[in-house]
């Protein structure tokens, strides 16, 4: 029997993988994908509690999150492309123009 605990463990695992990816990796694309992992970890949590509590609100939130993630992906990829055209790289360490 799959209990909410299982879902939460999966979601936590995914979330930690995502956070470590964002922190540790230098490639922007990878970071981007790690963010998606974080979002999806959240989605799993929402869906699991929605099923457990028999309340559709969680699923509605999840759909909103997917929609926002899609938009974010579009904008983020646009930025990455623009950055790449300027710098010929997608290394995050090169993105330090806002430094003092």
């Amino acid at each position: 029997m799959i209990t909410p605990t299982h879902y939460m463990l999966l979601s936590a695992a995914l979330f930690i993988i995502g956070v470590i990816g964002v922190m540790a990796r230098r490639n922007i694309i990878i970071i981007f994908m790690s963010i998606e992992l974080i979002l999806n970890a959240v989605n799993i949590n929402l869906i699991a509690f929605s099923a457990q509590l028999q309340n559709a609100v969680g699923q509605v939130f999840a759909i909103f999150v997917i929609a926002v993630a899609a938009a974010e992906a579009a904008v983020g990829l646009g930025i990455i492309l623009a950055f790449y055209r300027n710098k010929e790289t997608v290394n995050i360490d090169e993105m330090n123009l806002m430094r003092w």
Partner: protein, 792 residues
Amino acid sequence: MRREGYGFEPECRISVRNALGGPSASEKMNYIWLIPLLPGFGAAINGLVGIRSFSRKTAGAVASATMIAALGLALLAFWQLVGLAPAARAFDVTVAEWIPRIPLATHDGIGNFEVNWGFRLDPLSGMMLLVVTGIGTLIHIYATAYMTDEPRGGYARFFCYLNLFCFFMLMLVLGNNFLVMFVGWEGVGLCSYLLIGYWYEKKTAADAGKKAFITNRVGDWGFVLGVFLIYYTFGTLDFRAVQNAAGAMPVETMGFGVLSTICLLLFVGATGKSAQIPLYVWLPDAMEGPTPVSALIHAATMVTAGVYMLGRNAVLFSHAPMVLEIVAIVGVLTALMAASIGLVQYYIKRVLAYSTVSQLGYMFTAMGVGAFSAGAFHLMTHAFFKALLFLGSGSVIHAMAGEQDMRRMGALKKYLPVTFATMMIGTLAIAGIVPLSGFFSKDEILFQAFQHNKAIWAIAVVTAFMTAFYMFRLMSMTFFGGYRGPAWETAGHAAVVTAAHHGVPHPADPHAHGQAHKRDHEVTHGPAEPHGQATDHGHGHDAHGAQTAHAAGVDDAHGGHGHGPWHGPHESPTPMTFPLMVLAVGAIVAGFVGVPVALGGNNAIEHFLEPSFTASHVEGHAEPGAEPAEEHEAAHPSRQLELGLMAFSVLIAVAGIGLAYRFYVTKPEISETLAERWAGAHRLLLNKYYVDELYGATIIAGTFNAARGLWTVDRNVVDGAVNGTGKLTVVSSWFSGLTDRTVVDGLVNLVGWIVQESSHAFRRLQTGLVQNYALLMLFGIFAFVSIYLIVR
């Protein structure tokens, strides 16, 4: 007393009050307010339109016409007044409200202060009314001829002032309360100033005007203080109400009470206006004005205002015997002092000026010994003969082309027959020769003074002797003896004149007069006036001859001459001689209204004026009924005594005249030897006892020094304070700037510096690495969640 009579009914603008009721009689009198208004109207016309556009003839005609109209009304009013019962001779006419009722403190609570434009006709003001309008009219007519040498605008200006003077003088005379009188009082002072300084381009004239005005201010100060005290004491300013209230108060024989204080203050006012010691100094200087002004203002009317005011307040003064004593002493000393100065003066108008001061002293003596009607009587007769003498002297000055120095006259009798005859009448009148007017009034005063105080009488008699002497000296030097004046350019006369000129030595003539002296003559306007120099010779006298054809009739020797040099002394034109003749008649007959009982008369004027000098003549409760009768008895203790005194004073006058004739006509060298022997006294008198110098050294120099002292204080203390404040501000602002630069700017810069320095540490955080930020964020979240979990 009818208190309700002084209330003001708003529903009728002109309320007429008769002291005894009888509306039918009083209604007829309600025009008396027109009498002052007419000359005021004339002044307005001449002032607003005349100066710009009237010809000489129009300006003179307007002024004279308003005066003639006023004279007509005055005669009518007087006639109606005389036609009434003696007790009923008083009218109050309220023309308009002036100061509406306002509460004001008096000594016994809050009173109602209200003043109306009220006029009052009673015997005293009636007499003054006739004097002012009558003599005023004559002098207006005289001045139309006398002033013809003036430029057109100045001529109209002169008549504007002259009319304005009559307006104010009539206001003074007719006012029924102190404040209306004060308006007139100040107004005549103003006109006096304007007219003395009529030739304002001449410095001496302008200075004399200022002197008169400022001296009068001193007196007016006393007068106005007296008025304040009257209101504070009686709660009203109405003459009649004040007199009745004062009549009910006890006579202040013992102490110097409030009535005495009031009277003393009023008398200070009188000394200023009427030129008594110590404020007489302005009157001789006032002779800088044109001669008609001297005659009207400084002899006949304005200067008698002080005497009139004393008479108006006779009840007040008779309740303050100590002040009356002061009045008598001041009066008689002024009379003596002025007469003694008049003995040696050389300028014809100055002699007359001192004579006026002296005669005013007589009037005050009369007032001071309680003989109010005698003083008022002398006021009237004096107005006649002194106006006559001044106008006569004006005629002489006119004939001599402005020469005023009697040392340069002489033998004018044959050239100026009318002037000589009329002036002789005036001289005999002032000397007190029976039966001319001066005799009756002066002897009344002397008699009353004799009964009151022998010392005062003795001084007054000495003064009478001096009066006769200096007046006849004036006549002798002017009309008798040899001609000592400048030569004129007529072949026939030249020889005679040159002989006379060289034959008679100039007595004590310090500066050689030549023809050039004529430049100083009276009608010269000073160097600023170009035509005064250009047409110096004759300066319009010939124009007289051409303009007024009458001149030819009077003065056949000079009637036909044309423009050219001065043709010698000549009689004045008719408009000038006519007033002289009228006044001469007046000087002869004016005394007959006051023939004393001792000479078979009934002293009509005394009985006529009596109601004005007593308190309530309606009910008479304030004044004991027995007193007038008792006084009457006392006034005539001995007919022999009175007759003897009269004979004595006539004798004195004749002695004075004889002595003067001997000194100045038969043996002119006597006067010179006397002047040499008594050189000190002569110089003292010639310099007018050095009073002007004394005043100059004390009061004027004191004022100047005080002003200089104040100026020094102003410069050092006040300016110093201002400058010190400025300096203090500069210093403090320097400190303020310093503080601003160091403290305030320092703080601001310190903040900036701190921020800058601390930024070195903090900018390390700003790595620009996204992952650093994300890591920090993560730590933050951990921290907050941890805190949340722990604290919960």
